[in-house]
C-alpha cells in the first residue's frame, strides 16, 4: 500500500522517495537526509528532479539558507513527543528565509500537534495511518490566536484589539 500523508488538509499519496527507495539518477522527487545532502552537495545541485531534505532537530536551519531555492521540500524530523526544535526550524524557514515549498513534519507526528505545527508553517504531515482521516479537523482546533505567525500573514501585527 502506498505511503499516504496529510498535505494542505487533504490525505494524499506521498509522491516523494527516500534515497534508499529510488535510483538517485532518475527524475523522481527525492528526499535526502541532511547528511546525504551535505556530503554530495555538488551532485545534488545539478540533479534533474525535485529535491527535498530532512533536518534533524539539532540541525541549524541557517545551514540550508544559501541553497533553499534548490529545495521543493524541507522536512523537520520529530524523534519523539517532546521534541520542539522543529517548530523553530519551521518558522525560520518560512519567515526568515521565505521558503515557499512543502514544509513537512516527519517522525513522531500526531494530530494533537498539528495546529501548532501548521502555525509554524508546516503544511504536510506524516501521520500514523489510523489518524490520517481524522487529523485534518485538528487544523481547526482554535479559531483565534494571540501571536502573529506566518499563517496569519507575515505582515500581521500583534493583534491590537483597540484598533478594529
Amino acid at each position: 500500500m502506498p505511503r499516504r500523508l496529510l498535505r494542505d488538509g487533504k490525505v494524499v499519496v506521498d509522491d516523494w522517495r527516500a534515497l534508499s527507495e529510488t535510483p538517485a539518477a532518475d527524475d523522481t522527487a527525492l528526499i535526502l537526509t541532511f547528511d546525504q545532502w551535505l556530503s554530495e552537495r555538488d551532485r545534488w545541485l545539478v540533479r534533474g528532479g525535485p529535491l527535498g531534505v530532512i533536518l534533524a532537530p539539532a540541525h541549524q536551519a541557517e545551514l540550508l539558507a544559501p541553497d533553499l531555492a534548490r529545495f521543493a521540500l524541507v522536512g523537520a524530523e520529530f524523534p519523539g513527543p517532546s521534541e520542539g526544535r522543529g517548530y523553530t526550524q519551521g518558522r525560520l524557514l518560512r519567515e526568515r528565509w521565505k521558503f515557499t515549498g512543502e514544509l513537512r513534519a516527519t517522525g513522531y507526528v500526531r494530530r494533537d500537534q498539528l495546529f501548532f505545527l501548521a502555525r509554524c508553517g508546516f503544511n504536510s504531515f506524516e501521520l500514523p495511518d489510523g489518524e490520517l482521516e481524522t487529523a485534518a479537523a485538528a487544523l481547526a482546533t482554535f479559531s483565534a490566536e494571540y501571536q502573529p505567525s506566518n499563517d496569519t500573514g507575515l505582515a500581521v501585527k500583534l493583534r491590537h484589539r483597540s484598533v478594529p
Binding site: S82, D112, E145, Q147, S162
Partner: protein, 550 residues
Amino acid sequence: MYRYDVIDKTLVDERVAQFRDQTRRFLAGELPEDEFRGLRLRNGLYIQRHAPMLRVAIPYGLLSSTQLHALAAIARRYDRGYGHFTTRQNIQYNWPKLEEVPDILAELAAVEMHAIQTSGNCIRNTTSDHLAGVTPDELEDPRPWCEIIRQWSTFHPEFTYLPRKFKIAVTGSPRDRAASLVHDVGVHIVRGADGELGFEILAGGGLGRTPVIGQVIREFLPREHLLSYLEAVLRIYNREGRRDNLTKARIKILVRSLGLEEFTRRVEAEWELIKDGGLSVTEAEVARVRGFFGPPAYRSLADIEPAAGRETAFRAWYRYNTTEHKVPGYRAVYVSLKKADAAPGDATDTQMDLIADLADRYSFAEVRVTHTQNLLLADVEQEKTFELWRALDAAGLATPNIGTLTDMICCPGLDFCSLANAGSIDVAKLINERFDDYDYVYDLGEIDVKMSGCMNACGHHHVGNIGILGVEKHGEEWYQITIGGAAGADASLGTVIGPSVAKAAVPETLARLLAVYVEQRHDGERFIDTVRRLGVKPFKERVYAAPAAA
C-alpha cells in the same frame, strides 16, 4: 481586572472542547497513555498518588469574587471540599476524577478561567507582586504587562514543546515580592536614563535540583520590545537548551554552559532580527490593557489608627496581617492560610465562599493569591478592618502570623504528590506545635521558612531563610536543613548546615538555630542578616552539638 473579550472566550471554550475530545480518546483506548500524558499536562493535569491533580491557572494571582466562588464550587462538587494555593499563585485540586476534568474546565471557562499551560514543558502562568497597584513603592503596576505576556505565551505555536518548563515573573517595585530572581526570566520595571519606564531582564534563575539566582541580560529594554525580547530568549532556549537530560534542561543550565555573555550575545543577535517584526507592543495596546487595571472607586479618606484601643488579638492581627496602601485610609489585608492545624495554603470551599463574600463587601470584589500561599484583600478601608477581622477570625482565617516563622511555604509533599520523597504538611504541623507561643514568634521577627518534599523545590526551600528539604534515606523520611536563603531583591541560596535530621527532630533543630539567632542578633537585626554576618558555623555547631531530642 482583565475581562475576556470574544477572542479570549473563544480560545478557552475551544480548549475545553479539545481536551474533552482528548480525554474521550484516551478513555476509549484510542490515545495511548504516553501520548495523552503531554496533552493532559498542558492542561495542568497530573496523575498523582491518590488521584489526578488538577492545577488551575490564576494569572498573576488575581481573582474576582465570582471566580473564587467558582473555585469553591469546584472544590465542593469535584474534590473533597478544599483546594491548595501554590507558590506560583495557582490553585490545585487533589481529588478530581479524570473523566470529570473536562467538565471542571468548562466550569472554569464560564468564569474566564482555565488550566492552560499550568504544567508541561511550556511557558507557565506569569506571576507577579501580590501588592501590585496598591504598594507605595512601585514604579508602575506590573499586571498589564503580565496580561500582555499571558496572551503572547498562551498557545504560542513555537514554544509549546520546550526542553523544560519556563516561568516568568514580573515586578514593578524594587522590593521583589514575586521571587523573580529564581524564575527562568525575571522582568523588572525600571526607569531608564532619560526617565522613561522600561524593563530590566534577568534570565537563568530557577530552583529545583540546581538552584541558580537569575542574572541580568539586559539592563534596559524599551517597553514596546518586551514581547520580541522574550521571543528571542525563548527561541534561543528552544533551539539550544538540552533535551537529552531532563535535570539539565532548564534555561539556567544553558546560561551556565554558554556563559552569561555568550547567551546574552545570542539573544541580542536574534532579537535584532525580530524586534521590528509583528511583536511590537504599541502604546495604544498598553493603554487598552492598562484600562482593565485602573484604580477602583476609592473613597476620599484619611489615614486612621484602627488598632488604637482595640483588643490585643486585633492589634496583633492588624500589625502582622495588614500592610500599607498607597491610598490614604486604605490597607491591604492578608488572609492567612497558615493555621496551625491545617495544611499551609489550603482553603476549604466554605472559606473560599466566605472570602469571596468579604471581598465583595470590603475590597471591590477582588482577591489575590500571594506566592507565599496566602490570600490578600488589597483595598480595604482601614475603618472596616475591625469588622473584617472578626469575620475572618471566626472562619480560622486570621492567624496573625504573616511574615513570621509559622507563615511557612510548604508543598503538598508525600501526602499527595507522587514526586515527593518525604512529607511536608506533617512537618509544618510539628513546627506549629513546637512554636505555638506568639510572643516568642513575634520576638523572632521577620523570618521565612520554606519546605519542599523533594528536590523539585516547589516549596522554594533553597531561598528560605530556613529551608527544609525532605529526603528519603533507607525508606525513611529525613530532612536536610539550609539557612541563609532569601527570595527577595537580595535573593540568595541557603547553605546546608550538615547531615539531614529525622522528622521528629526538625522542630528541635529549628529551635537551636533560632536560639543562636536570639543570642547573637544585634538590635533589630533580622534572622537572615545575622546568618549573613556570622556565617553557618555557629548555627551548625549548636545543631549538631548533641543529638536533638525527638
